[in-house]
């Protein structure tokens, strides 16, 4: 009888000691690093923050839109369509390199597609990077692999089924006048195939606060788009890496400037 009482007492002591143990961690259920086993909050909670990346058309410092006309040299180009793929988006800081979005199709004639929002842990980041176009893995898929409204889906009309097949990384279409006679003629540049894929890195301090949306504005400066481009040359539809296609892709990447 006495033995049993001692055992009960011992058990109570052990339970009391165990119950009094405090495991530090994030105890807020709404935090992204919530620790279900923690019972002592150590102020380590991290919360989601939104980072919005928005693309804007500019001609130098002047806003530019679809159906505006760009003058350069003795030429004029009336923009009617501009779509391009942004892929493998990352934002980094010294300790992390985090992948945040696989692919987005920017259509400058569709306001909702001109930005995308990333959900990241709050904090400070030092670099934004993304690809212009698609990497090999993405480009080896077909619209049949996706829902029709996916950025790589059928309804985007960005896929060539020819051999070798490819998504069109950049679709630049409009009308050109190279004779200063307002005699515009159709012009379209479609840049495609994996060897034109470019990765851009922008060093910038980006601070995202919990439950806030930080906006990063990226301008596409139309003024540099046709630098060193021979306008009399046939547009590079099928070229893998023709000099003209490489020049246009290079110009496009140079035209992207972070605010």
């Amino acid at each position: 009888m006495v033995k049993t009482s001692y055992l009960h007492l011992l058990l109570c002591i052990v339970m009391t000691v165990l119950a009094s143990c405090k495991k530090p961690g994030c105890t807020d259920f709404s935090a992204i690093n919530y620790d279900a086993e923690a019972n002592k909050d150590d102020n380590s909670c991290l919360y989601e923050a939104n980072l919005s990346v928005r693309f804007h058309l500019k001609n130098g410092n002047t806003p530019f839109s679809i159906y505006d006309t760009l003058s350069f040299g003795n030429n004029e180009f009336r923009l009617e369509k501009l779509k391009f793929y942004v892929s493998n988006v990352r934002i980094d800081n010294d300790s992390t390199d985090s992948y945040v979005k696989d692919v987005h199709l920017v259509d400058m004639d569709n306001v909702t597609s001109q930005s995308f929002t990333l959900v990241k842990p709050e904090g400070s980041y030092s670099r934004l990077s993304f690809g212009v176009g698609l990497d090999d893995i993405q480009n080896n898929t077909t619209p049949a692999d996706y829902s029709v409204d996916h950025p790589l889906g059928l309804n985007q009309n960005t896929f060539w089924a020819m051999t070798p097949s490819s998504y069109i990384f950049i679709m630049l279409e409009g009308k050109m006048d190279t004779s200063s006679t307002t005699d515009f003629y159709p012009m379209s540049y479609h840049l495609a195939h994996s060897d034109l894929y470019q990765i851009l890195n922008f060093d910038k301090t980006i601070v995202v606060d919990a439950n806030q949306t930080e906006v990063i504005n990226i301008n596409l400066n139309m003024a540099v788009l046709f630098n060193n481009v021979d306008l009399s040359e046939d547009s590079p539809h099928q070229s893998k890496a023709s000099p003209l296609a490489i020049q246009l892709m290079s110009n496009f990447c140079n035209a992207l400037e972070i605010e």
Partner: protein, 346 residues
């Protein structure tokens, strides 16, 4: 005598029963079904509020072929959309019940489940919305009103039950009618042409067809931009240079009121194009040879000509052999199983 009466009276009652209307309530027990998606096609977006059922599809087919939807009970959807013509009209302009012709060639109905808009000017987004228009249109079926149509359907000996079975409704309205027709139309899938079989290593193309494929899919013919695989339409709106500026039709402008859309029409699918003459929104070309000749000429320049029409004023420069090869390739898009499919027949 009494015995005779006992025998006779029950017969009187039995014979009376024939005059008493008997309503047997049909059960709403829909059989949900799905589309058979051809290889190479993605899964289409289907409306959540109109799931495919066998009952709905059957009802839609019955309505599609039934002149009851027209004002004079003499014209059906199928009278302007012939299966043998890939559900298009071989007449340049269809004639409605009032004897009046429209201004557009009746579009072929091929793979409409993947349509993002309907009609040449894209004025209807969904197939349900599309089916609303022709029934009361003066130049088409010209029913006096949708109410008049649904009254006829309610009075019909079969339709009340069929609508009950498809939509669990005792009161038929226009939304049920167009939903049923849309369900049937979504089953009109064509993906079994010689070209499809070629892609699946089940058929060989001739040397001419292969050359035509190359012309189609390269800058030489430049067809693929607006007519890309697998649908052979981009579902987008283009001005392909049919007319000079002063003769351009309003086209897509009628819907958007954007001057940049003047003269633009939805690019049609080229699947079964061999069967769907005449061609273009106004059926101006009777043959595929004329169509090819138009593109070989390059088209007329205008303020809204499509940027993809890069050879305007110059022409494609196709030789006679090139044109024949391209024509031969286009004919590989014919799907005889589609135009003979008994599921699409009344």
């Amino acid at each position: 005598m009494n015995k005779f009466l006992y025998i006779f009276i029950p017969f009187l009652f039995v014979s009376c029963q024939r005059d008493i209307p008997v309503f047997e309530s049909v059960e709403y027990n829909p059989t949900y079904t799905y589309l058979e998606i051809p290889t190479g096609f993605p899964i289409p977006n289907l409306p959540n509020d109109n799931p495919l059922t066998e009952e709905g599809i059957e009802l839609g087919k019955k309505l599609f072929f039934d002149p009851i939807l027209s004002g004079n009970n003499r014209l059906s959807c199928a009278d302007c959309h012939f299966q043998s013509s890939a559900f298009s009209d071989p007449a340049r302009f269809s004639i409605g019940i009032e004897g009046v012709a429209g201004e557009f060639n009746a579009s072929a109905i091929i793979n409409p489940a993947w349509n993002t808009t309907n009609f040449w000017d894209g004025r209807a987004i969904s197939l349900e919305e599309q089916a609303l228009g022709p029934v009361t249109s003066f130049i088409e079926l010209h029913a006096p009103s949708w109410q008049a149509v649904t009254d006829k359907l309610m009075a019909h000996s079969q339709y009340r039950d069929l609508f009950k079975m498809a939509f669990n409704t005792d009161k038929i309205d226009s939304s049920h009618v167009v939903k049923a027709i849309a369900q049937f139309e979504r089953t009109l899938i064509s993906g079994n042409s010689k070209f499809d079989k070629f892609l699946q290593y089940e058929a060989l193309l001739t040397p001419s067809e292969l050359r035509g494929k190359e012309i189609f899919n390269t800058e030489k013919g430049d067809c693929f931009h607006c007519h890309s695989y697998p649908l052979f339409t981009s579902n987008e709106f283009h001005n392909n240079g049919l007319d000079p500026e002063h003769l351009m039709h309003e086209g897509r402008y009628r819907v958007t009121r954007d001057v940049n859309d003047l003269g633009k029409f939805k690019s049609p699918t080229l699947r079964n194009v061999e069967l769907s003459a005449p061609y273009m929104h106004d059926g101006r070309f009777q043959t595929l040879e004329e169509v090819i000749e138009h593109y070989n000429f390059g088209g007329h320049n205008s303020s809204t000509i499509d940027p993809l029409m890069k050879k305007v004023g110059i022409g494609l420069g196709l030789s006679e052999q090139d044109k024949q090869d391209l024509l031969n390739f286009l004919k590989t898009l014919t799907d005889t199983a589609f135009i003979n499919n008994p599921k699409f027949q009344p």
